[in-house]
């Protein structure tokens, strides 16, 4: 598992120049070939049912909205988008089947997803072999690699960015150093817990307690007791399992242990609220979130977020009771494709790769994206903000205290 950090910002000059040159060349070529009116086919591997479907459902709303919006405005350079959605139900075997179907049968121009890292790990090599540009929305670090998967571009933050910011917050802002790490025994949980330990080690900190727990374990009082006995002054759970996260908070509350919890974004999700014994158990709970869905000191969300939210609000029936960043991410994936096709002037796969490789500071709703020839993770470090968990409002949060 490589942990090399690739600088998030690239030098600007040469990339922009070459992009301009490329665009010119491609533009000339397109001009002579005549206007292409075939649809841009986008395959969307989504886990609309099964475990972790809540994120996929929200992302799906963003994706569909963006596609409709672009098609209503006349498409991309006059080409309509054809969205081909496949429900993988979170099963890697199904995801592989559908990925094969999308590239071999449907001959799509782009693939978005899959949603879960376990599925993405399986599909990314397949899509790479077929040479199809793939917008990655899984956080696991191994999903991107400019050599192995040159056409896989990540839109979401990496796991490392999440964990790194959470660690920074715990160590620098909260001034804690005795960390208890809790992971679950799923694939995601184990690798994240490992990663968290490695990153802490870089900062010179060895966790006082570290444990992997079955995601369905019914009671965590024992683990939390051990963490307290080990002298922990901050608990960092790295798991996407709602039940487990809720039990961490419940055990802490029931023990009346006054310790901050900093960890995975899922700990801020609304489903957690229902699982808590008492609402105040959500106090002192922080997680990695995004500046795009964080209220400023003026109580307002960033402009693009507000704009999208206003446009989409009728679709949600007024209230937004899920984390809104999933919607912005889904929306952005389509906008990234739009940008790539426009820049490349076609859906030619190599041209699209070039176009995305030379993308700098593409303004999005979820974040501003930059990729480079050796950089496949487009999400900027600055897009991460630590949020306060119990401030959920319209799918967004307040920043954690500094």
């Amino acid at each position: 598992m490589t942990t090399d950090r690739i600088p998030a910002r690239m030098h600007r000059g040469p990339a922009t120049v070459s992009a301009a040159g490329l665009a010119l060349a491609v533009g000339l070529f397109a001009g002579t070939a005549g206007a292409d009116t075939t649809p841009v086919k986008i395959g969307w591997l989504s886990s609309l049912t099964g475990p972790l479907s809540s994120a996929a459902v929200a992302e799906n709303q963003g994706v569909k909205f963006a596609v409709d919006e672009i098609n209503k405005a006349g498409g991309i350079d006059g080409r309509k988008i054809e969205l081909i959605t496949r429900d993988t139900a979170g099963d890697p075997t199904k995801a592989v089947n559908f990925a094969q179907q999308l590239v071999l049968s449907e001959k799509v121009d782009f693939v978005i997803g899959p949603v879960n890292s376990g599925e993405s790990l399986a599909t990314v090599p397949i899509l790479a072999r077929a040479g199809v540009p793939n917008i990655i929305i899984g956080t696991v670090d191994e999903l991107t690699d400019p050599q192995k998967y040159p056409r896989a571009f990540r839109a979401i933050a990496t796991n490392e960015q999440w964990i790194g910011s959470a660690n920074d917050y715990a160590i620098k802002t909260l001034k804690r150093s005795k960390v208890a790490i809790i992971g679950d025994t799923t694939g995601y949980g184990t690798s994240s817990a490992k990663k968290a330990e490695a990153l802490l080690a870089d900062a010179g900190i060895k966790p006082v307690y570290s444990v992997l727990i079955d995601a369905n374990k019914t009671d965590l009082t024992d683990e939390m007791t051990k963490a307290r006995a080990a002298g922990a002054d901050v608990v960092m759970p790295w798991s996407a399992a709602t039940g487990l996260l809720a039990r961490v908070l419940n055990a802490r509350g029931n023990m009346q242990w006054d310790v901050p919890v900093v960890g995975h974004p899922a700990i801020m999700g609304l489903p957690i609220k229902d699982l808590l014994n008492k609402p105040e158990y959500w106090e002192q709970t922080y997680a990695a979130g995004y500046s795009s869905t964080t209220y400023g000191v003026d109580g307002k969300l960033p402009g693009p977020t507000t704009a999208l939210m206003d446009k989409m609000r009728p679709e949600f029936g007024g209230t937004i009771n899920f984390t809104f960043w999933w919607v912005t991410l889904g929306y952005d994936t389509v906008k990234i494709i739009e940008h790539a096709v426009k820049t490349a002037g076609s859906t030619d796969k190599a041209a699209v790769q070039k176009a995305l490789e030379s993308t700098q500071n593409l303004k999005g709703t979820y974040a501003d994206y930059s990729w480079g020839p050796k950089q496949r993770n487009g999400f900027p470090d600055s897009g991460i903000v630590i949020n306060k968990a119990n401030t959920f409002k319209d799918g967004s949060f307040e920043a954690a205290p500094h």
Binding site: D91, P92, T93, G118, G187, S191
Partner: protein
Amino acid sequence: MTTSSLPRLGTLAVGGILAVTLPFWVGDFYQLHLAALIGVYWVLISGLNLVVGYTGQLSIGHVGLLSIGSYAFAILVGRYGVDPLLTLALAGGLGGLCGFLLGLPSLRLPGFYFAMATMAFALIMAELSLAQGDLTGGGAGLPVPGFAAPFDTPTGFYWLVLLVAALITWMTWNVARLMWGRGLIALRDSEVAAAAVGVPIFRLKLTVFTFSGVTAGIGGALFASLQSYITPETFVFELGLFFFVCIIIGGRGSILGPFVGTVVLTALPEMVAPLAKLGNFFYGLLLLAVVLVVPEGIGHVIKSVMARLQKKGPEPKGLQPDIGRLAAAVRRGMRQDIQRGHAS
């Protein structure tokens, strides 16, 4: 188990030719991928069929053995650069060894106990593949290399799968039609009769279960290569249930039935989207319907319909012993018996 008739051979030949030439007339590569997947599943299922369909041992946890073959292939080829074809054999050997070790304690247990033991085995394998992160990549999983030329293209890989599947099917067919098949069915239908003719019950069960471990290991290696990436989440318990359901629905004591079951159950959810959504509910419903309506499976229904069609004319009725023939046959047997000096 009776002699194969001419039309049957004809059907087999046509089927074989269709299977071999599939890459040339199939609609697109996706369908070829599906065909390869069916073949890979069948490699495992045809071995499991001897355990479940013939011997009547209800193993619902073969996905654990599948995962062993998959990880062995991913680790040996991916990390140590062992030759893929050699690894295919090694994966089979390892699967067989694990099947043997699993069967040793559990095959002595009565039915429900055995089923639960195999289910627990599948869960334990999932747990170990997560916990042994240094070996298996833990939750992040492992990339799996493909085979070397000429098996490195979808078509080449399909032919490799076809070759392996045909070989294993032929082997299970031999086992089923010759003496071992009768012994296995005796274990399934009447242990008393089996004992009366001297069938060593436990040894047979263990041998066949070990063989199913070999096919599961080989199937696992092919499966991993087809998937190109494996994580513990690839080997969910439901997959083991799926293999099992294919056999039961296809029909116990038949090879064609489970094969049809595998083809239909793999392809159906791909073709009919609403079924995919229902997922396991659909498999459960099918299983329940089969158990309640045709417990011998769909293969059996086809067989009896065929038998009814083939039935010609009224058969002579009533026992007419031919004492001369009987005495001669018995005496001949006795003589051979003395010749071999009763060597037992």
